[in-house]
C-alpha cells in the first residue's frame, strides 16, 4: 500500500503538483487562466528551456555542463555585435554564434575526454574563461543600436527587423520563441527517445562499459553531447538578443542555475528518474508558472527563491526516495 502510493507519487506527483498549482492560481486570480497569460508564460520560459535542453543532453551522457550560462552570454554579444558593429547579413548572424557555441562544446570535450578533468570542474573552468572572453570582446559594454564606440564614432548597424521578429514576432497566435522552443523540445524528445542515437546517448550515460562493449564510441558520444549543449546555449543567446533587442553582457549567468533546476525537477516527471526532454520543459514550466502566479499573489519577490528551492527539494526527494526504495527492493 505504502509502496504503491510512493510509486504513484513518483509517476504522477509532479504533474499533480502542477495541476494543483494551476487550479489554485486560477481561483485566486481570474487574470491567471487566460490565453494571453499562458502564451506569456511560455514565452518567458522559452529561453531558459532551450538552455536547459542543452544541459539535459550532457546529463544524459552522465556529464554536466556548467558553462552554458557563459556560452549564452557569449552568443548574445556576438549576435548583437555582428549586426551592430559589422552590419552582417542575417544568415551569418545566426550561424556564427552557433559555430562559436559548438567550439565551446569542443573545448569542454577536450578538457573532459582528452585531459580527463571531471565534467563539473572542466565546465566550471570553461564557464569562467568564456565569461571573461565575452566581456573582453565587448570591453565590458553592452551592445545596442548605433552605440558609441570606444574608438570614437558610432556603430554602423542595428538589429534588423527580421532578426527581432525571432524574439518578438508571432505566428498563428503564438510567439515565435514559443514555436522555436516547441520545435527544439520536440526534436530533443524525438532524438533522445525515438532514435537510435538517443539510445546510444542514454546507454553511454547509464553504463559506459556496456556501451563500449556494444561497439559505441563513447568519446564521440560525449563530444556530441557537449557540442549540442553549446549549440543550444547559443540558440538561447540568439533568442535572448532578439527578445531584448540588444546584446546584454552577462545575460546568461543568472539563467544557469535556473536551467539546472528545471532539468532536475524534470527527473521526476512521469517517473523517468533520469534527464529527459519533456521533463526539462515541464520543470521550466513549473518554475515559470510558479513565478507568474506568485507575482499575481503579490508575494514579495525576495521569497521566490524559497519557493523555487522547495519545489526542487520536493521533486528531488520524490525521485530519490523512490530510487532508494528501488535499489533496496
Amino acid at each position: 500500500m505504502k509502496e504503491k502510493s510512493i510509486q504513484f507519487l513518483f509517476k504522477y506527483g509532479a504533474i499533480l503538483l502542477l495541476i494543483f498549482i494551476i487550479i489554485y492560481f486560477s481561483i485566486i486570480s481570474p487574470a491567471f487562466l487566460s490565453y494571453g497569460n499562458f502564451t506569456d508564460i511560455l514565452r518567458s520560459i522559452s529561453i531558459v528551456t532551450v538552455l536547459a535542453l542543452g544541459v539535459t543532453f550532457t546529463l544524459v551522457v552522465n556529464g554536466f555542463d556548467l558553462s552554458v550560462g557563459s556560452t549564452m552570454s557569449l552568443s548574445t554579444v556576438i549576435t548583437a555585435s555582428l549586426m551592430v558593429w559589422y552590419d552582417m547579413p542575417l544568415w551569418l548572424v545566426l550561424i556564427l554564434p552557433i559555430a562559436v557555441g559548438a567550439l565551446v562544446g569542443l573545448f569542454n570535450t577536450l578538457l573532459i575526454v582528452v585531459i580527463g578533468i571531471p565534467d563539473l570542474l572542466a565546465t566550471l573552468s570553461t564557464m569562467y574563461i568564456v565569461a571573461g572572453l565575452h566581456r573582453t570582446y565587448t570591453e565590458g559594454y553592452s551592445i545596442y543600436n548605433h552605440m558609441p564606440l570606444t574608438s570614437g564614432g558610432t556603430a554602423i548597424g542595428e538589429l534588423s527587423e527580421a532578426f527581432l521578429w525571432i524574439g518578438q514576432g508571432k505566428v498563428a497566435g503564438l510567439p515565435v520563441p514559443v514555436w522555436l522552443m516547441i520545435g527544439l523540445i520536440a526534436s530533443a524528445y524525438l532524438f533522445l527517445n525515438h532514435t537510435r542515437w538517443g539510445r546510444i546517448f542514454y546507454m553511454t550515460g547509464s553504463n559506459e562499459e556496456a556501451a563500449t562493449l556494444s561497439g559505441v564510441k563513447v568519446r564521440r558520444v560525449k563530444l556530441a553531447a557537449y557540442v549540442v549543449s553549446g549549440i543550444f546555449a547559443s540558440i538561447a543567446g540568439i533568442l535572448f538578443t532578439a527578445r531584448v533587442g540588444s546584446g546584454q553582457i552577462d545575460a546568461g549567468a543568472p539563467l544557469l542555475m535556473e536551467a539546472v533546476a528545471a532539468v532536475f525537477v524534470g527527473y521526476s516527471v512521469l517517473g523517468a528518474g533520469k534527464p529527459n526532454a519533456l521533463g526539462t520543459f515541464f520543470g521550466a514550466a513549473v518554475i515559470g508558472i510558479l513565478l507568474n502566479g506568485l507575482t499575481i499573489l503579490n508575494l514579495p519577490y525576495y521569497a521566490f527563491d524559497i519557493i523555487k528551492g522547495s519545489v526542487l527539494v520536493l521533486a528531488l526527494a520524490v525521485t530519490y526516495v523512490y530510487a532508494k526504495k528501488r535499489t533496496a527492493a
Binding site: H194, T195, R196, W197, G198, R199, I200, Y202, M203, G205, S206, N207, E209, A210, A211, T212, L213, S214, G215, V216, G273, K274, R326, T327, A329
Partner: protein, 506 residues
C-alpha cells in the same frame, strides 16, 4: 583457438592454451580459480587481444580487436558480472536489442517493433513473464542473465559463452537455464560453459576441457570422464601444501548465535565458535554467506535472534560496536569494502584503531609507521615501504593488509569472507598459516567460502549453508568435498546414488 598466450604485467594468465568448439555442442571449460578460463573467453569475445596464437572460425582465421568484431562474427558472452553489460536505465527490450543501436544505419527506433522483437525472443526462452518495458535495474540477477542470453539470440549468435552463469542462480533458475541451453544446442548454437559446479557440468555438457595455470590439461567427451578425474586434473596437488596443524587446542565457547535472521536472506541460523576453533561456513555463491558475515559484524541489522559472546548478549548496531566487542570482518570484496586502495599501507593498517596511534587526538606518525612495519614483517608482505599505495600491491599482498589491519585491535573473533578470492597459490598458503596462527593464539575464527577444498583443509568443523539456512554440519573427519558440495547445492544425502561411497580424498 590455438596456442593463445596472454600476459598481464608479470603474471602469465594464458600459456599456449588451445580450445575448440563444434556447432551445436555444449563444451564445458573447467579449472581452478585463476586458471585462465575467463581470460581465454575474453580473448574469444574480443575484450582482450592475445599476445600470441590465433583464432579460427569456420576454417577462417579471424582477429577480434573489439567486442564489436567478435559479435559481428556471432560470438557472444554472458558475462560473469552481468551488470557490466546491462544498461540499468534502459528497458528490457532496449537491453535485448542493445547491440543493434550501435550497428544499424536506420535513424528511428520504433518502440513497437522493439517490444515485439524482444517479446518474441523472450518467448523462445520461455521467459515471457518478463515485461519488456520494465527498466533493467528492476530485474533480478537471473532475469538480467536471461536478457543477456536473449541479446545473444536476437543477433543470431553462433557461439555463446556462459561464464559461471549459475553462480548467482537458485536451483530452479538454474534448471530453466539448462533448458535454454539445450534449446540453443538444438538450434545449432555452440555453447561454452564455465562453472565450478561439477554435477551440473556433467548434466549438460557434451565435452569437457580442464585448464590449469593457463594451459589446457585434459579434454574429452563428458561421457568418458568421471568427476574425480576432472577434480584431480583441476586441483593437481595443490592442496597438499596446506599442512595439518598440530597441538592446537579448542577452548571455551566464544561466540554463540541463536536463531538469527535478517528478515531477508538469512533464516534461523544457530551456531557456536570456540576459542581456537576454525568454523567453516560452506555454501555456493549466493547462499547468503556474505550476508551472515556482515550481520555478525554489525554491518547489517538482525531482525530476530541474538548473538552472545562469552555468555554476554551483543547488541551490534554498527560495525563499530562489533569491533568494540572484539569481532572483526575481513570482507569479501577487499578493494570495495576492505581497503582504501588509493592510500598507503600505513594508513590502511592503522585505521581501525587510530586511538592507539594518537596522543590526545593528534596522530603520531612514527608510531603508525612502526606498526605498519610490524605488520609487514609479521605477514611477510612484499612491498616497497610503509608509504607504498595499496594499488601498487598484488592481490595477495592486498589481502594480507586487509587481514593485517585488524592486528591493531584486540580482536577475539575473526570473520574471513572468501579470503582467498583472487589470491595466488603461494599467498593462499601464507594466509592459511596466518589463520592457523590466530587459532593457536586462541582466537575464534569463522571462515566463509565457496571453495570447499579450502574449507576442508583448514576448518575444524564445517556448516553448510543453502539459501540462507544451514542444512548440514560436518566435523572435519566426516566432511568430504563431495558431500559438502552436495548439500551446498541443495541436495540431500539420501538422494544420491552409488557415488555416495565414492569420495574424493584430499
Amino acid at each position: 583457438m590455438n596456442h593463445i598466450e596472454k600476459t598481464f604485467g608479470k603474471s602469465k594468465a594464458l600459456d599456449k592454451a588451445s580450445f575448440n568448439l563444434r556447432m551445436g555442442e555444449v563444451h564445458a571449460l573447467l579449472g581452478a580459480n585463476g586458471a585462465g578460463k575467463s581470460t581465454l573467453m575474453k580473448i574469444l569475445s574480443g575484450v582482450y587481444e592475445p599476445d600470441a596464437g590465433d583464432i579460427v572460425l569456420h576454417d577462417q582465421a579471424v582477429v577480434f580487436k573489439h567486442p564489436k568484431s567478435a559479435k559481428d562474427h556471432g560470438v557472444f558472452c554472458v558475462y560473469q558480472e552481468v551488470d557490466t553489460a546491462i544498461v540499468p536505465d534502459l528497458s528490457v527490450a532496449e537491453n535485448i536489442l542493445l547491440d543493434t543501436f550501435a550497428a544499424e544505419k536506420s535513424m528511428w527506433v520504433s518502440k513497437k517493433k522493439l517490444h515485439k522483437e524482444a517479446k518474441l525472443v523472450l518467448t523462445q526462452l520461455q521467459a515471457d513473464t518478463i515485461d519488456v518495458e520494465r527498466p533493467a535495474f528492476e530485474l533480478s540477477l537471473a532475469e538480467k542473465q536471461l536478457v543477456l542470453i536473449a541479446r545473444a539470440m536476437i543477433s543470431q549468435a553462433k557461439i555463446i559463452i556462459f561464464d559461471e552463469p549459475t553462480a548467482p542462480l537458485s536451483v530452479f533458475e538454474a534448471d530453466r537455464l539448462f533448458h535454454i541451453i539445450s534449446h540453443l544446442k538444438e538450434q545449432g548454437v555452440g555453447c561454452i560453459y564455465i562453472s565450478h559446479r561439477l554435477p551440473e557440468v556433467f548434466k549438460i555438457s557434451d565435452r569437457i576441457t580442464v585448464m590449469k595455470e593457463g594451459r589446457n590439461i585434459t579434454s574429452g567427451l563428458t561421457k568418458t570422464m568421471s568427476q574425480e578425474q576432472v577434480v584431480e586434473a583441476m586441483l593437481g596437488k595443490v592442496l597438499e601444501q596446506f599442512a595439518e596443524t598440530k597441538g592446537k587446542s579448542i577452548g571455551d565457547c566464544l561466540l554463540e548465535a541463536e536463531r538469527i535472521s535478517d528478515g531477508r536472506k538469512l533464516r534461523d541460523l544457530s551456531f557456536t565458535v570456540s576459542k581456537g576453533e576454525v568454523l567453516g561456513i560452506a555454501g555456493l555463491v549466493g547462499a547468503g554467506k556474505s550476508e551472515l558475515a556482515k550481520a555478525i559484524a554489525g554491518a547489517s541489522p538482525l531482525k530476530n535472534g541474538m548473538l552472545r559472546k562469552s555468555g554476554r548478549k551483543l547488541n551490534n548496531k554498527h560495525p563499530q560496536d562489533a569491533i568494540t566487542s572484539g569481532i572483526v570482518l575481513v570482507p569479501e570484496e577487499r578493494r570495495k569494502e576492505g581497503l582504501f586502495i588509493q592510500e598507503s599501507l600505513r594508513i590502511n593498517t592503522t585505521f581501525p584503531n587510530l586511538k592507539r596511534f594518537s596522543r590526545g587526538s593528534i596522530l603520531q606518525r612514527a608510531k603508525e609507521s612502526a606498526f605498519a612495519s610490524s605488520v609487514i614483517s609479521a605477514l611477510n608482505v612484499k612491498t616497497g615501504s610503509t608509504e607504498t599505495r595499496l594499488h601498487h600491491l598484488s592481490g595477495g599482498n592486498q589481502q594480507k593488509i586487509a587481514i593485517g589491519k585488524w592486528m591493531s585491535v584486540q580482536a577475539e573473533i575473526y570473520l574471513f569472507d572468501e579470503p582467498t578470492k583472487g589470491v595466488d597459490i603461494g599467498a593462499k598458503g601464507e594466509i592459511f598459516s596466518l589463520i592457523h596462527q590466530l587459532a593457536e593464539e586462541g582466537k575464534g575464527i569463522i571462515y566463509f567460502s565457496s571453495e570447499i577444498h579450502e574449507l576442508l583443509a583448514i576448518c575444524d568443523r564445517v556448516l553448510v549453508m543453502y539459501d540462507g539456512a544451514f542444512v548440514k554440519e560436518f566435523s572435519r573427519s566426516q566432511a568430504t568435498q563431495e558431500k559438502v558440495l552436495l548439500y551446498a547445492s541443495g541436495g540431500r544425502e539420501e538422494l544420491i546414488d552409488e557415488r555416495k561411497e565414492h569420495t574424493i580424498s584430499i
